[in-house]
């Protein structure tokens, strides 16, 4: 879509002119870095400015741009010499972003946050009202928010100081608590949950740890710089990479269990074949790292789902349900 690209670029040009007017003689490399573009892209922008100007478009009407010496000079651009105000969506994006950050526990610079929010609200004018139409809740959800904030603060300290962490981490799918040492890489929220991404020395790989499952965290003296092969996951992709060790299971879902396909990544979803199991509406294939997790899921789904494949898993769900019912009876 060339439309989107050209408005993005126009927005940059309108920001670039006032900035360069205030910084005459700025080295090309610094100017490019400021706008987070390459030097060749900056030169193309300057070339474009150079042929634009006030009506008439005679040499005296055009914007002056000079960069041959490696330093950038701009002139004759009075019509656009002030930074453009924020559009409504732009103000909303930043205001809602700031309010989201305000809920991050242990964010150091409270003053900076409050200051930015106050100044931006004043500058945004009417757009501040539109920002009320959007809200994001990232509050740590835990029965013990104090402990959760403590864990987040500990992880942040380790990140800042590049130190290794020792974690006690709960793995609910196995109902197990594990000890591991982790070189922290970043803290992120995805779908309302906080995660620590780090190099796990126990599994020798990059792992995501859900913060509400970290039972204890301690900053160690050891250096926590992750090894060179530790590469952050691309959040645009799915966070939960399939592994070759995964098991693919096939389930039939009744209407009350349809939500499963919204919650978990599926390999395939299709209408259930008629006549096999009366309540079935969907037949789905799910990828699971651990069949114990699937067994738990099936127990909670009750009469809303059944295992089609592998048959051994259906057997194990049946046995687990039977054993539990015996426990209730005895």
């Amino acid at each position: 879509m060339s439309g989107r690209a050209s408005t993005e670029r126009l927005s940059r040009l309108l920001a670039m002119v006032p900035y360069l007017l205030r910084h005459p003689g700025l080295p090309l490399a610094e100017a490019a870095a400021h706008f987070e573009i390459g030097e060749d892209e900056l030169v193309r922008d300057l070339e474009l400015l150079f042929v634009c100007g006030t009506p008439g478009h005679l040499p005296d009407d055009l914007i002056e741009a000079e960069w041959e010496s490696g330093k950038v000079y701009i002139g004759n651009a009075e019509a656009i010499d002030r930074p453009l105000r924020l559009a409504v969506d732009e103000a909303v994006a930043l205001l809602v972003g700031l309010r989201t950050l305000a809920e991050v526990p242990g964010l150091h610079d409270r003053d900076a946050l409050d200051g930015a929010l106050a100044k931006l609200s004043a500058a945004a004018g009417d757009a501040a009202r539109a920002a009320q139409s959007l809200a994001v809740d990232v509050r740590v959800d835990d029965t013990d928010p104090g402990a959760a904030e403590q864990i987040l603060a500990t992880c942040r300290a380790a990140l800042r100081e590049h130190r290794r962490l020792r974690l006690r981490y709960l793995v609910p799918s196995r109902d197990e608590s594990t000890e591991r040492e982790v070189d922290p890489m970043r803290l992120l929220t995805v779908s309302g949950r906080w995660y620590l991404e780090g190099w796990c020395h126990r599994s020798e790989g990059v792992r995501l740890f859900r913060l509400d499952r970290i039972e204890a965290a301690e900053v160690l003296d050891a250096d926590g710089t992750p090894p060179a092969q530790a590469v952050s996951r691309d959040l645009a992709e799915d966070l939960f990479r399939p592994s070759p060790d995964d098991v693919v299971v096939t389930l039939d879902l009744a209407r009350q269990a349809r939500w499963v396909v919204e919650y978990y990544p599926t390999e395939s979803v299709e209408p259930a074949p008629p006549g096999e199991w009366a309540p079935a509406e969907l037949r789905v294939r799910l990828r699971a790292a651990d069949t114990r997790w699937v067994r738990r899921l099936l127990l909670r789904l009750g009469d809303g789902a059944r295992v089609v494949d592998p048959p051994g898993l259906a057997e194990s769900v049946k046995d687990a349900a039977h054993a539990a019912l015996v426990a209730y009876g005895g």
Binding site: S2, R4, S6, E8, L10, S11, M16, R22, F35, V51, C52, P55, E78, I80, R82, P83, L84, R85, L86, V88, D89, E90, V92, A93, G97, T100, V104, L107, H108, D109, A112, G115, A116, K119, L120, A122, A123, A130, L134, A135, V136, V138, T143, D144, L170, P172, L188, R255, R296, L298, G302, D303, V317, K318, A321, A324, L325, A327, G329, G330
Partner: protein
Amino acid sequence: MVNPNASRRTERLLNLVIALSATRRWLTKEQIRRAVPQYDDCATTVAFERMFERDKEDLRELGIPLSTGGEDVLFGDEQGYRIDRDAYALPDIAFTPGELAVLSLASRVWQQASLAGPATRALVKLRSLGVEADESSLVGLEPRVRTSEPAFEPLYAAARDRAPVTFEYRRADGEPAQRAVEPWAIVSWHGRWYLVGHDRDRGASRVFRLSRIQGAVRRIGKPGSYEVPADLDPRSVVGATVRERAPQAAVLRVRSGAGLALRRRARSVEAADLGGFDEVVLDVSDVEAAADEIAGFGADVVVLEPEDLRAAVLRRLRGALAANGGGSGVPGAGAAAVQGGAA
């Protein structure tokens, strides 16, 4: 890399901005057509007018205020255009390096979401004020939201513009129905997006989950058609709807070394007389959600009380047994005793 058409379009828009903000008088469309060389590309007046309409829309999206008006004597019925330079400019704000760093982080909240473009543009504008951000205290912190639901963009825009909409909504029980709503706010709550608004057919406020909206969201009224209640706190509304009743204490028998997630949240854990089990007391506010979790532990966790939670777990276990080839035979006398209590 460089698309010549896109470049030409950028040149045209830039010349248009300069022409409209350099002028002290209103410019008619014809004057604008002559003032911006790239409009020569338009062979006909119709083609020019179409292009000019699109360009005006682009400028509005970027926040460039286009004023319309004119002196009657000169223009007759025709409208004139110009850019008011004071309305154009960002008010003088001086951000500190720390504030700019926080703003930069705030813009990255949208990196994977539908406001990514506006967020980036906003930051570029603020950075043109000339302050360099000091991001040292924010290393490694990446709060993000995602907006994968197709309904997000039209609903956000409708709430922003206060324009009523209609859409097909699938209820929790799977039945779809057409709804007509005045959107008040869009809220991300525990990672899911919700719409809070006034449901016209029901004459009351309602909360909708965006992932349950099917197909297109259509506007059924003009922007500014209604008012949003001044005291609206959309997050509390969603919280109160989505969340549960006041918690009650549940008493569980949990096998030693198992049920770790439950133990973590427990009010108390005591070693019971029963060999190899502990008695765990837990606050439960949503019986069905708690039953989901507890049923997953199978024989490792048994609910002693309250009765409705016990019945909800038993219903799941019996269902799982029957659905996975166990027939409907129910072992155990205790199970039979609570059958009457199950919904």
